[in-house]
Symmetry: C2
Subunit: 335 residues, 2 copies
């Protein structure tokens, strides 16, 4: 295992140390070693936005802490939920006196720990409400949407909710826009190689050479099919066949598209795939209003890609374009 | 080979198509299919900034086209120089009437083609001057600096020169600041895995499991030593042992640090390494004024990292902080 680490058990602490040294203008520590809050004034006088999840998905989650995005995150071990205490501390760190929106992904550990943290926080008088992202259309049938995993769609949910919070909206309105965003969002991933958690030292799943795992999860969860590798054009079609009918996305819709590498995918290839997705949407009469292509939500050094599509109404269109600054996503508002 | 491509011979065209669809606010086409210019007003009334090089290093080179950065780039096949005609067309595309600074990396093909393009452009009345980046301290001894390769230090050279050009400086001043930046810059890479050019279908070099190639080039050029994998802390020390004495960087210096993944390195690990580099510089009494950590200059899906350090005087410190927007680097000026 050729990796840039010290003791494999220390990767989270070592990475957090580097993150804080690299971005003192964005990130600040808290009393809890696994909670990072936004540097500066923070959320005083407005709704605080919190997320959290396992490490190894960088820039998610800590890389979305910043002005116009997350106020605090709870950080877990690699591919493991943060503790309830960490979520609770993140709520405190993001408290500006008007309640906290905890916007996170649908995984058993995160659900359990967020739920416990919300109870603990309530005893301290903190009003925390949650939205659970379940945008991965490949992870369960539509009529069992509650079982679907949250993936890169979380980024767009955070962006919209944080932009509304920055405008002074109340907790109910912020929660409503987060829910609206994720309800209008569908994602799917394709995995081409596995990844290795440093403390494990070897991949915990396999993808045979010449095959791809359609619908793979961010931790290598099995997808809907293992198929022979297709040309990029066909991969895009395969992904859109699952995603578009699911919402459904229809002629005349405005959408945001986010193409995220899973870690080891060459940037060229993310753009090759984006080009084909854009062609398919144009053919269907769907208009792309916002485009994001890069490594937004990764799985260590997994090779592969996820595509996320969000239908935007006038409000979401506006909120996604509002200025924000973070490691993972910066919107200048100049475009 | 599990990759997101169509015909391996089409990867450059397919990626450019996706790039242009994804970033109409940043990138515009030209009459030459391998030349991309900045969208909008461009360089009218100021010095134009041009670069170019082989594909596969994304976001370099095309990902640095944008306001406050490059005005046009010439794009080559994967790991191969653009043609002289492409460079010539990029000069034309970047011409705003006050001359063109072509700031590129020291590779035989690029040198030959840029030289030819400058002659062709001169016949058309274009005043093009060049600076050749040779920041890779591991690629040749200091007394043969002219043989050293250009690597991620190019990004900081582009940033400084473009910021000065935006202020209305003349060609001589822009060239001088580009040269000053690269003269004050040293880089080194460590390779952990090879990469595969799609059209070749297999790696053109090997790195054995458990070993690392210190001083590796962006195309897998051999470095100064093959060693057993070290902990991240020791890797940082190894890199700084080559880089710091070379300029040399001394107590009291102000610097910019850029840590770039080579493609497949988990983001966590880039920050782990950055943390150790920052510790070493702090111990030496060197102050980090600007920090960049991410995938700035890659080699397809190579795993590994490069570290670039630039000594900044007051002028460079200021120019690196000026607002700029591109796929690869956005500086908001808010920090």
């Amino acid at each position: 295992m050729n990796r840039i680490i010290n003791d494999p058990d220390d990767v989270v602490e070592d990475a957090l140390a580097g993150l804080r040294l690299a971005h003192p203008d964005l990130l600040a520590g808290t009393a809890h070693p696994r909670v990072i809050r936004v540097a500066g004034a923070g959320s005083a006088g407005r709704v605080g936005i919190v997320s959290g999840g396992g490490s190894g998905h960088e820039p998610a989650f800590v890389g979305y802490v910043g002005p116009g995005l997350l106020d605090a995150v709870a950080i877990g071990e690699v591919f493991a939920s943060p503790t309830a205490r960490a979520f609770q501390a993140a709520f405190k760190a993001a408290d500006g006196g008007r309640g906290i929106a905890c916007l996170y992904g649908n995984y058993a550990g995160d659900n359990m720990n967020v739920k416990m943290a919300v109870r603990l926080a309530a005893r301290e008088g903190l009003d925390v409400r949650t939205v659970v992202a379940n945008d991965d259309a490949a992870s369960a049938p539509l009529d069992e949407r509650g079982k679907r995993r949250g993936v890169a769609g979380e980024v767009l949910m955070w962006k919209a909710a944080a932009a509304l919070a920055a405008e002074g909206a109340d907790l109910e309105a912020v929660i409503a826009v987060a829910q609206k965003t994720i309800d209008a969002t569908r994602s799917i991933g394709i995995g081409l190689t596995p990844c290795t958690i440093p403390a494990a030292g070897k991949p915990n799943f396999r993808i045979a050479d010449g095959t791809m795992e359609v619908g793979i999860g961010h931790h290598g969860e099995p997808g809907i099919a293992v198929r022979a590798i297709e040309p990029a054009r066909a991969m895009a079609a395969t992904m859109m066949e699952t995603v578009l009918p699911d919402l459904p996305f229809d002629r005349g819709d405005d959408v945001a598209v986010l193409v995220s590498g899973l870690g080891a995918t060459p940037v060229m290839e993310l753009y090759i795939l984006y080009g084909h997705v854009a062609e398919i949407l144009a053919d269907r009469g769907i208009t792309i209003r916002h485009r994001f292509v890069g490594n937004y939500f990764t799985s260590l050094e997994m090779m592969g890609v996820s595509v996320t599509i969000t239908r935007v109404d006038g409000e979401l269109d506006r909120l996604l374009g509002v200025k924000a600054r973070s490691i993972g996503l910066t919107v200048t508002g100049d475009a």
